[in-house]
């Protein structure tokens, strides 16, 4: 997309994510051509939608679309295919292959409960190849998760199926590549949520009068907000750079950093919004909840960061420096 097309696309996606949720958002995104954009220009489609979705506290089925597409699943507009995600904190395949049985323990997005088909990736012993199965809805057991962020519509997915139903997954567009795209998507969603939290805190600081002046005039408050902007912009910059070479390593680094940055913003915004932000009458709590969950989906920030450090120690070298 050129700059003008991108601006129009962003405006349309912003309108859709601000007005719609769930299935209605799914339909709105289909109407505005998001699925086509995902195939033609994944960087723009993913970064724009997920940042808007994070900013608007919206839920869609887009993460499933991104993962299914990356796993090479043929797109069928008539049937929603949900993808089983790893359990919290993890990013390995959610299915475990053991002889002729494949057991599954993972999570699903809001798409899972509405899906006609379910896509599961499984692995035998660590390091062996991945397999993928398309299962009919109902094969696996779903348990609605309310938890910290009920609006997200997560489900816990458990069960088992015959290994014969699964086919080998070509490693070229395999699980790790799909996870990388999913991590970039979640990274952008975290940045979107962080931008909104900063915005909410900023508006409050400008409007809230204490000691006869807006609290935005107090340096302690200003510096929290400034620190938040540094966190947001540096996470957004690392994500944008990761799209130049969206490898598992760059995506994991960008997602891990985005998670930590968003949590930093959540902490500062919560403090600046103080009592008001602690009430359910103010929207901040929804973004704080969402941030914590997104940080732990498809690899928790803390896990990805430690893994990065271990890999540097193991290989004795840093990731290739971004070229000028």
């Amino acid at each position: 997309m050129d700059a003008e097309e991108l601006a129009l696309f962003r405006a349309a996606v912003t309108r859709a994510t601000e007005a719609q949720r769930g299935e209605a958002l799914e339909a709105a995104l289909e109407d505005l051509g998001w699925s086509d954009a995902l195939e033609a220009d994944p960087a723009s489609a993913v970064s724009v939608l997920f940042e808007c979705q994070g900013a608007a506290h919206a839920t869609s089925f887009a993460l499933d679309r991104v993962l299914a597409g990356a796993l090479g699943a043929r797109r069928d507009p008539a049937t929603l295919e949900a993808v089983v995600l790893p359990r919290l904190r993890e990013h390995g395949a959610p299915g475990h292959l053991d002889g002729d049985r494949c057991t599954v323990h993972g999570l699903g997005t809001a798409a899972m409960a509405r899906a006609g088909r379910v896509l599961v990736v499984a692995q035998g012993t660590a390091g062996s190849g991945h397999v993928m199965a398309h299962l009919d809805a109902g094969t696996l057991e779903l348990r609605a998760v309310h938890g910290l962020d009920p609006d997200l519509g997560l489900v816990e997915v458990t069960g088992a199926f015959e290994a014969g139903a699964a086919d080998p997954l070509p490693e070229s567009d395999g699980w790790d590549g799909a996870v990388a795209l999913g991590q970039l998507a979640l990274g952008h969603e975290l940045v979107g949520a962080a931008r909104t939290m900063l915005d909410l805190a900023r508006l409050h600081a400008l409007g809230r009068i204490q000691f006869g002046r807006p609290i935005a005039t107090f340096q302690a408050v200003r510096h929290r907000l400034a620190e938040s902007l540094v966190a947001v912009e540096s996470a957004a910059g690392l994500l944008a750079a990761a799209w130049e070479d969206p490898s598992p390593a760059t995506a994991a680094m960008a997602k891990g950093f985005a998670g930590r940055s968003a949590r930093t913003v959540a902490k500062h915004a919560q403090q600046v919004l103080a009592g008001v932000g602690f009430t359910t009458e103010h929207p901040l709590h929804e973004f704080v909840r969402r941030t914590l969950v997104l940080d732990q989906l498809l690899g928790a920030g803390s896990v990805l960061t430690k893994e990065l450090g271990r890999e540097v120690l193991r290989s004795g070298s840093l990731p290739a420096a971004l070229p000028l």
Partner: protein, 376 residues
């Protein structure tokens, strides 16, 4: 020359000249040795034409974008040929000459700096004027013979080596604040200038006190307009936070690589190491974005305060790891390499102080980028 061709040419030259370019000391060297090395590298790179790339032809350059300068500095730093701080001298001072000096003065002077014939310094801060530049007091009075300067500067980096100084002076009333400041280009051998280097925690006396007693500066050494010095300072500061910071990214990358290579087994915490690598990568992405905006002719300004905060955070994270992982070297070592690690660790403490402290950067971000209004 386009960027890819420049890069290839620089790399080939660095390979061919590796022996001649290398410092003739181990570790970090003394400040005298570093300055000699710096001038040697400037001279070699200038003679090869590379040091002139990225600067306009009217000041002796060969044209091309700032990204050419960014790559040359990155490549020199990544090969441990120069120290990034002192190498940044042209980045900080040449844009001022280009934008504000009389054209013939700029054309005469800039090649002297780029060719390594001279070192320059920047006289901004004063004992009573650190972050609050608008309060500076060093006076310049207009006389028939020239500007008569009286006062004191401090934190003037490398003044003891400098031939010239971009000096900010008070020409308005003391209350005129940022409206009454004038910039002069001063020869450091003018009678009445006394330089006193100040010992610093990291072991190199690179900051100085500079005293000006009845120092006469010719009228044709005026930079910009009388009482227009504030806009010069404002114009310069974003340069200080663009290409110059990019060099530090290359430096941090190199030192972190070295740390990982030599730290004893188990001495580095994987989580802290992962965070440092993330911060360094995020800083590099940010700084490159700024460099590209500059290359595209965009006006850069307050956004570079984000770059500076991120740099300080990354550099301190990297050298916290150094202090952890190379405790023996940093705390106990007396060989040249240990002294280098120790000096670098200590210097990283200043990353959130020099060039506009972390607090000032956050004030700028709050007022200019978040539009939070004035502080009172």
């Amino acid at each position: 020359m386009e960027f890819a061709a420049f890069k290839t040419a620089v790399d080939a030259w660095l390979d061919a000249q590796a022996g001649e370019l290398a410092p003739d000391y181990a570790g970090i060297g003394s400040l005298d040795e570093q300055m000699l090395q710096l001038r040697k590298v400037f001279r070699l790179a200038y003679d090869a034409g590379f040091m002139r790339m990225g600067w306009p032809e009217r000041v002796g350059g060969l044209g091309g974008s700032n990204l050419l300068r960014a790559y040359l500095g990155e490549a020199l730093v990544a090969r441990d040929v120069v120290e990034p701080g002192i190498y940044s001298m042209p980045e900080v001072l040449v844009p001022t000459l280009i934008d504000f000096a009389p054209p013939e003065l700029a054309a005469d002077m800039v090649p002297r700096l780029l060719s390594g014939a001279e070192n320059w310094c920047q006289g901004f801060s004063e004992p009573g004027t650190g972050s609050n530049l608008g309060s500076l007091a060093c006076r310049a009075e207009h006389t028939d013979a020239g500007w008569l300067v009286n006062g004191q500067k401090v934190w003037t980096s490398l003044a003891q080596y400098a031939t010239r100084c971009v000096l900010l002076t008070r020409t308005g009333t003391p209350e005129s604040a940022h409206r009454g400041i004038t910039a002069l280009f001063v020869d450091m051998d003018t009678p009445g200038i006394t330089v006193r280097p100040i010992g610093a925690m990291h072991g190199a006396a690179e900051f100085c006190e500079v005293f000006y007693d009845d120092v006469l500066v010719p009228h044709d050494r005026l930079l910009g307009e009388v009482n227009g010095g504030w806009s010069i300072a404002m114009d310069l500061l974003p340069y200080e936070r663009s290409t110059a910071l990019w060099f530090r990214a290359a430096y941090m990358q190199r030192r972190l690589e070295r740390l990982v290579a030599i730290a004893p087994e188990g001495a580095l915490d994987p989580g802290a190491l992962g965070e440092a690598v993330q911060l360094l990568s995020a800083f590099r992405a940010r700084s490159r974005h700024t460099g590209r905006r500059l290359a595209a002719g965009e006006k850069i300004g307050a956004e570079t305060s984000v770059d500076k905060v991120l740099l300080a955070t990354a550099e301190q994270a990297v050298f916290e790891l150094v202090a952890e992982g190379l405790g023996t070297e940093v705390l106990l070592g007396d060989d040249p390499h240990s002294r280098r690690w120790r000096a670098e660790y200590l210097y990283s403490r200043a990353a959130s102080i020099y060039g506009g402290s972390g607090e000032i950067q956050r004030n700028i971000i709050a007022r200019r980028l978040l539009d939070l209004g004035d502080e009172r």
